[in-house]
């Protein structure tokens, strides 16, 4: 039977995929604990001092802080705007919806290089000096399409009768939003995590719009010139990865929470009715 042979081929494919995905990361991990500034074998013994150096590198930590600030700010803004836009698009009647959606999703299609230049010119024309604020604004623009699409997907699969039922039971629009709509689209708040990631590792826009204090990707790019500092960068990369991984796990947990399926054990009460 065909289905019996398939797992073998699929298994092989999966194995290749895993190797391609994780070997490079494994190599990073390896060199972040290797006691040498040269990348190559043989290895020179285990060390933790790149991690210690990293923690002592004020510039690096400063850029990490900048990135975190920009990512938190832009992702929260993008999630709020995306959620509002999704509710407007799917729950209210107004003209020009296709145009509205097209404009909202445009940043997905415009190359970051062009968007970066455009924003740079715009900010210059408006006499806004470059700073983390300008980077955050740009990141909000490019991550909003993601949040909009994710929240829209959740709203589409959401029975509009639920909102009508709430209204029918006397709830005002805002009560309905707070008690019914927002809790039910809460899993879509993983959109926030997506927006956070989009911002956190974004390089092109940041390099155009950054002021005096660089974000992490911009700083790392600058560090590539100094070979002796490179292992620190690897150490940081490992830390960042660990944080990302925890966020993904968190998002997954949130998603399960939202379905309400596994909230506490079912009550052991006896079957009643019917």
């Amino acid at each position: 039977m065909l289905s019996l042979r398939r797992p073998g081929l699929l298994g092989l494919y999966y194995l290749v995929l895993l190797v391609l995905l994780y070997v490079p990361i494994g190599v990073l991990l390896l060199f972040s604990v290797n006691d040498a500034t040269v990348f190559g074998f043989p290895l020179h013994g285990l060390t933790g001092h790149w991690y210690k150096d990293m923690l002592g590198n004020a510039e690096l930590l400063e850029s990490l802080r900048s990135s975190a600030l920009v990512a938190v700010g832009s992702s929260l803004t993008a999630t709020a705007l995306g959620t509002l836009a999704a509710i407007a698009l799917l729950r209210f009647k107004f003209g020009g919806k296709p145009g509205f959606l097209a404009v909202a999703l445009m940043p997905l299609l415009v190359p970051f290089l062009i968007l970066g230049v455009a924003l740079l010119i715009l900010f210059a024309a408006l006499d806004v000096s470059r700073s983390l604020w300008t980077v955050a604004a740009a990141h909000t623009v490019v991550s909003m399409p993601y949040t909009l699409l994710i929240v829209m997907a959740r709203l589409v699969g959401f029975d509009t009768h639920l909102e009508e039922a709430a209204q029918d039971l006397g709830a005002s629009y805002f009560y309905t939003l707070r008690r019914v709509v927002l809790p039910l689209i809460a899993p879509a708040m993983l959109a926030w995590l997506v927006a956070f990631t989009v911002s956190f590792d974004e390089f092109v826009l940041a390099s155009f719009l950054i002021g005096r204090s660089p974000t992490l990707p911009v700083f790392l790019f600058g560090q590539l010139r100094f070979a002796n500092r490179f292992p620190q960068v690897l150490a940081l990369a490992m830390v960042v990865m660990l944080v990302s991984l925890s966020l993904v796990v968190l998002a997954e947990r949130l998603q399960r929470l939202g379905t309400g399926a596994s909230l506490g054990p079912p009550e052991p009460a006896a079957e009643t009715g019917s």
Binding site: E164, Q167, L169, A171, Y175, L184, G260, S274
Partner: protein
């Protein structure tokens, strides 16, 4: 009906147009307080749209909705003293049964202790006590249905709207719930407006029925009258089974008309209104009112000849399809109330007479 009480719901020439198509055309109805009223019709007949206009989810294109004598056209759904049970129940999946049922009380900030008491009361009314902490997803379809009922009734609305609430249940549970809904309605004394496409369901439960088609209320009457005296061919066809014969009015004698059915002969039928001879019309006769070759009672009888084309044995009754001289087939339903005598069993191909009382004939003008 108490004349002093205003009707629970009154629709005055209510109409709704959706992008060119007319969903509801000038429906006027008056539904009394405490009545079990059904809107019955095929899908797309405008019954759900009518219900949604009463609830306030759709704004009428023209006409009025009055609730207890008050025009509620500009009252939003959350301020109308009406509750609705949706077809899919629309229970809040993230809230427990308690919070679902308590929702309208929580909106109104009723004290917690009173909420607890009334929720317990409502749940025992629908025979689901002790399920407060469960989630809707952990309940069966029938149980969810009861929770939806409890949630809608806890506020004692003036009117409860039900949009095909039994549609998702299996046949057996449906029958049970029909009786239960009816007795629940009698118990709470709230006006029920029930939307369904199932004629049997409407006949079983309703005090009165409005039969709807293509956005119009064709007939509003009690189940018995709708069944016995359908106003239009559609109503006669939609409710139960009906034989139709087309004919022409020949003459009248008092309230009895003689109608000539071409190729078949003359048929007597009560005349509903003044009609001039020569008018073409349709005769409707229920299969169970027709009999094979035997006179039923005294007085004049309609008697036409035909040939048995098919016999279908159902169990409690038998359906005979008889081809008349004009080529049309009529169905005659005979109850199997006694075992057939040997040798007298009717055979396919047999020639016989079909008989029925003039009073069992309804004249339709469309």
């Amino acid at each position: 009906m108490d004349q002093n009480k205003p009707p629970a719901v009154e629709l005055v020439r209510l109409a709704k147009r959706f992008e060119g198509s007319e969903a509801v055309r000038e429906v006027s109805l008056s539904i009394a307080q405490g009545e079990f009223f059904s809107l019955l019709g095929p899908s797309g007949c405008g019954k759900t749209t009518t219900l949604r206009m009463i609830a306030g989810f759709e704004v009428p294109t023209s006409g009025e909705v009055r609730l207890l004598g008050q025009d509620v056209l500009h009252v939003p759904p959350n301020r109308r003293n009406i509750n609705i049970v949706f077809q899919n129940y629309a229970l809040f999946p993230h809230l427990s049964v308690f919070d679902n049922v308590a929702f309208s009380l929580q909106v109104k900030r009723v004290p917690a202790q009173e909420i607890r008491r009334r929720v317990a009361e409502a749940l025992s009314m629908v025979r689901l006590p002790g399920t407060e902490r469960r989630k809707p997803g952990q309940l069966s379809g029938g149980q969810q249905q009861r929770v939806a009922l409890a949630r809608a009734l806890i506020n004692r609305p003036a009117v409860l709207l039900l949009d095909e609430p039994l549609g998702a249940l299996d046949q057996k549970l449906r029958k049970e719930m029909q009786l239960e809904l009816k007795s629940l309605q009698r118990e709470v004394g709230i006006t029920f407006i029930y939307v369904t496409h199932d004629q049997e369901e409407a006949l079983t439960m309703s005090d009165r029925i409005a039969v709807m088609n293509q956005g119009q209320a064709l007939q509003v009457d009690d189940p018995r009258s709708i069944y016995d005296r359908p106003a239009t061919r559609f109503v006669a066809d939609f409710i139960g089974t009906t034989n139709f014969l087309s004919g022409r009015l020949r003459s009248r004698e008092g309230s009895l008309a003689t109608v000539e059915v071409e190729g078949v002969g003359d048929v007597l039928a009560p005349l509903p209104t003044e009609l001039s001879p020569g008018r073409t019309l349709t005769l409707a006769i229920r299969p169970e009112r027709m009999h094979l070759g035997r006179v039923s009672g005294d007085g004049p009888t309609n008697r036409v000849r035909g040939t048995v084309a098919e016999i279908i044995f159902i169990g409690d009754d038998t359906q005979y399809f008889v081809r008349l001289a004009n080529g049309e087939r009529v169905m005659v339903r005979e109850q199997n109330d006694a075992p057939p005598a040997e040798g007298s069993r009717i055979q396919v191909g047999q020639s016989l007479t079909v008989e029925w009382a003039p009073a069992s004939t309804t004249i339709l003008l469309d």
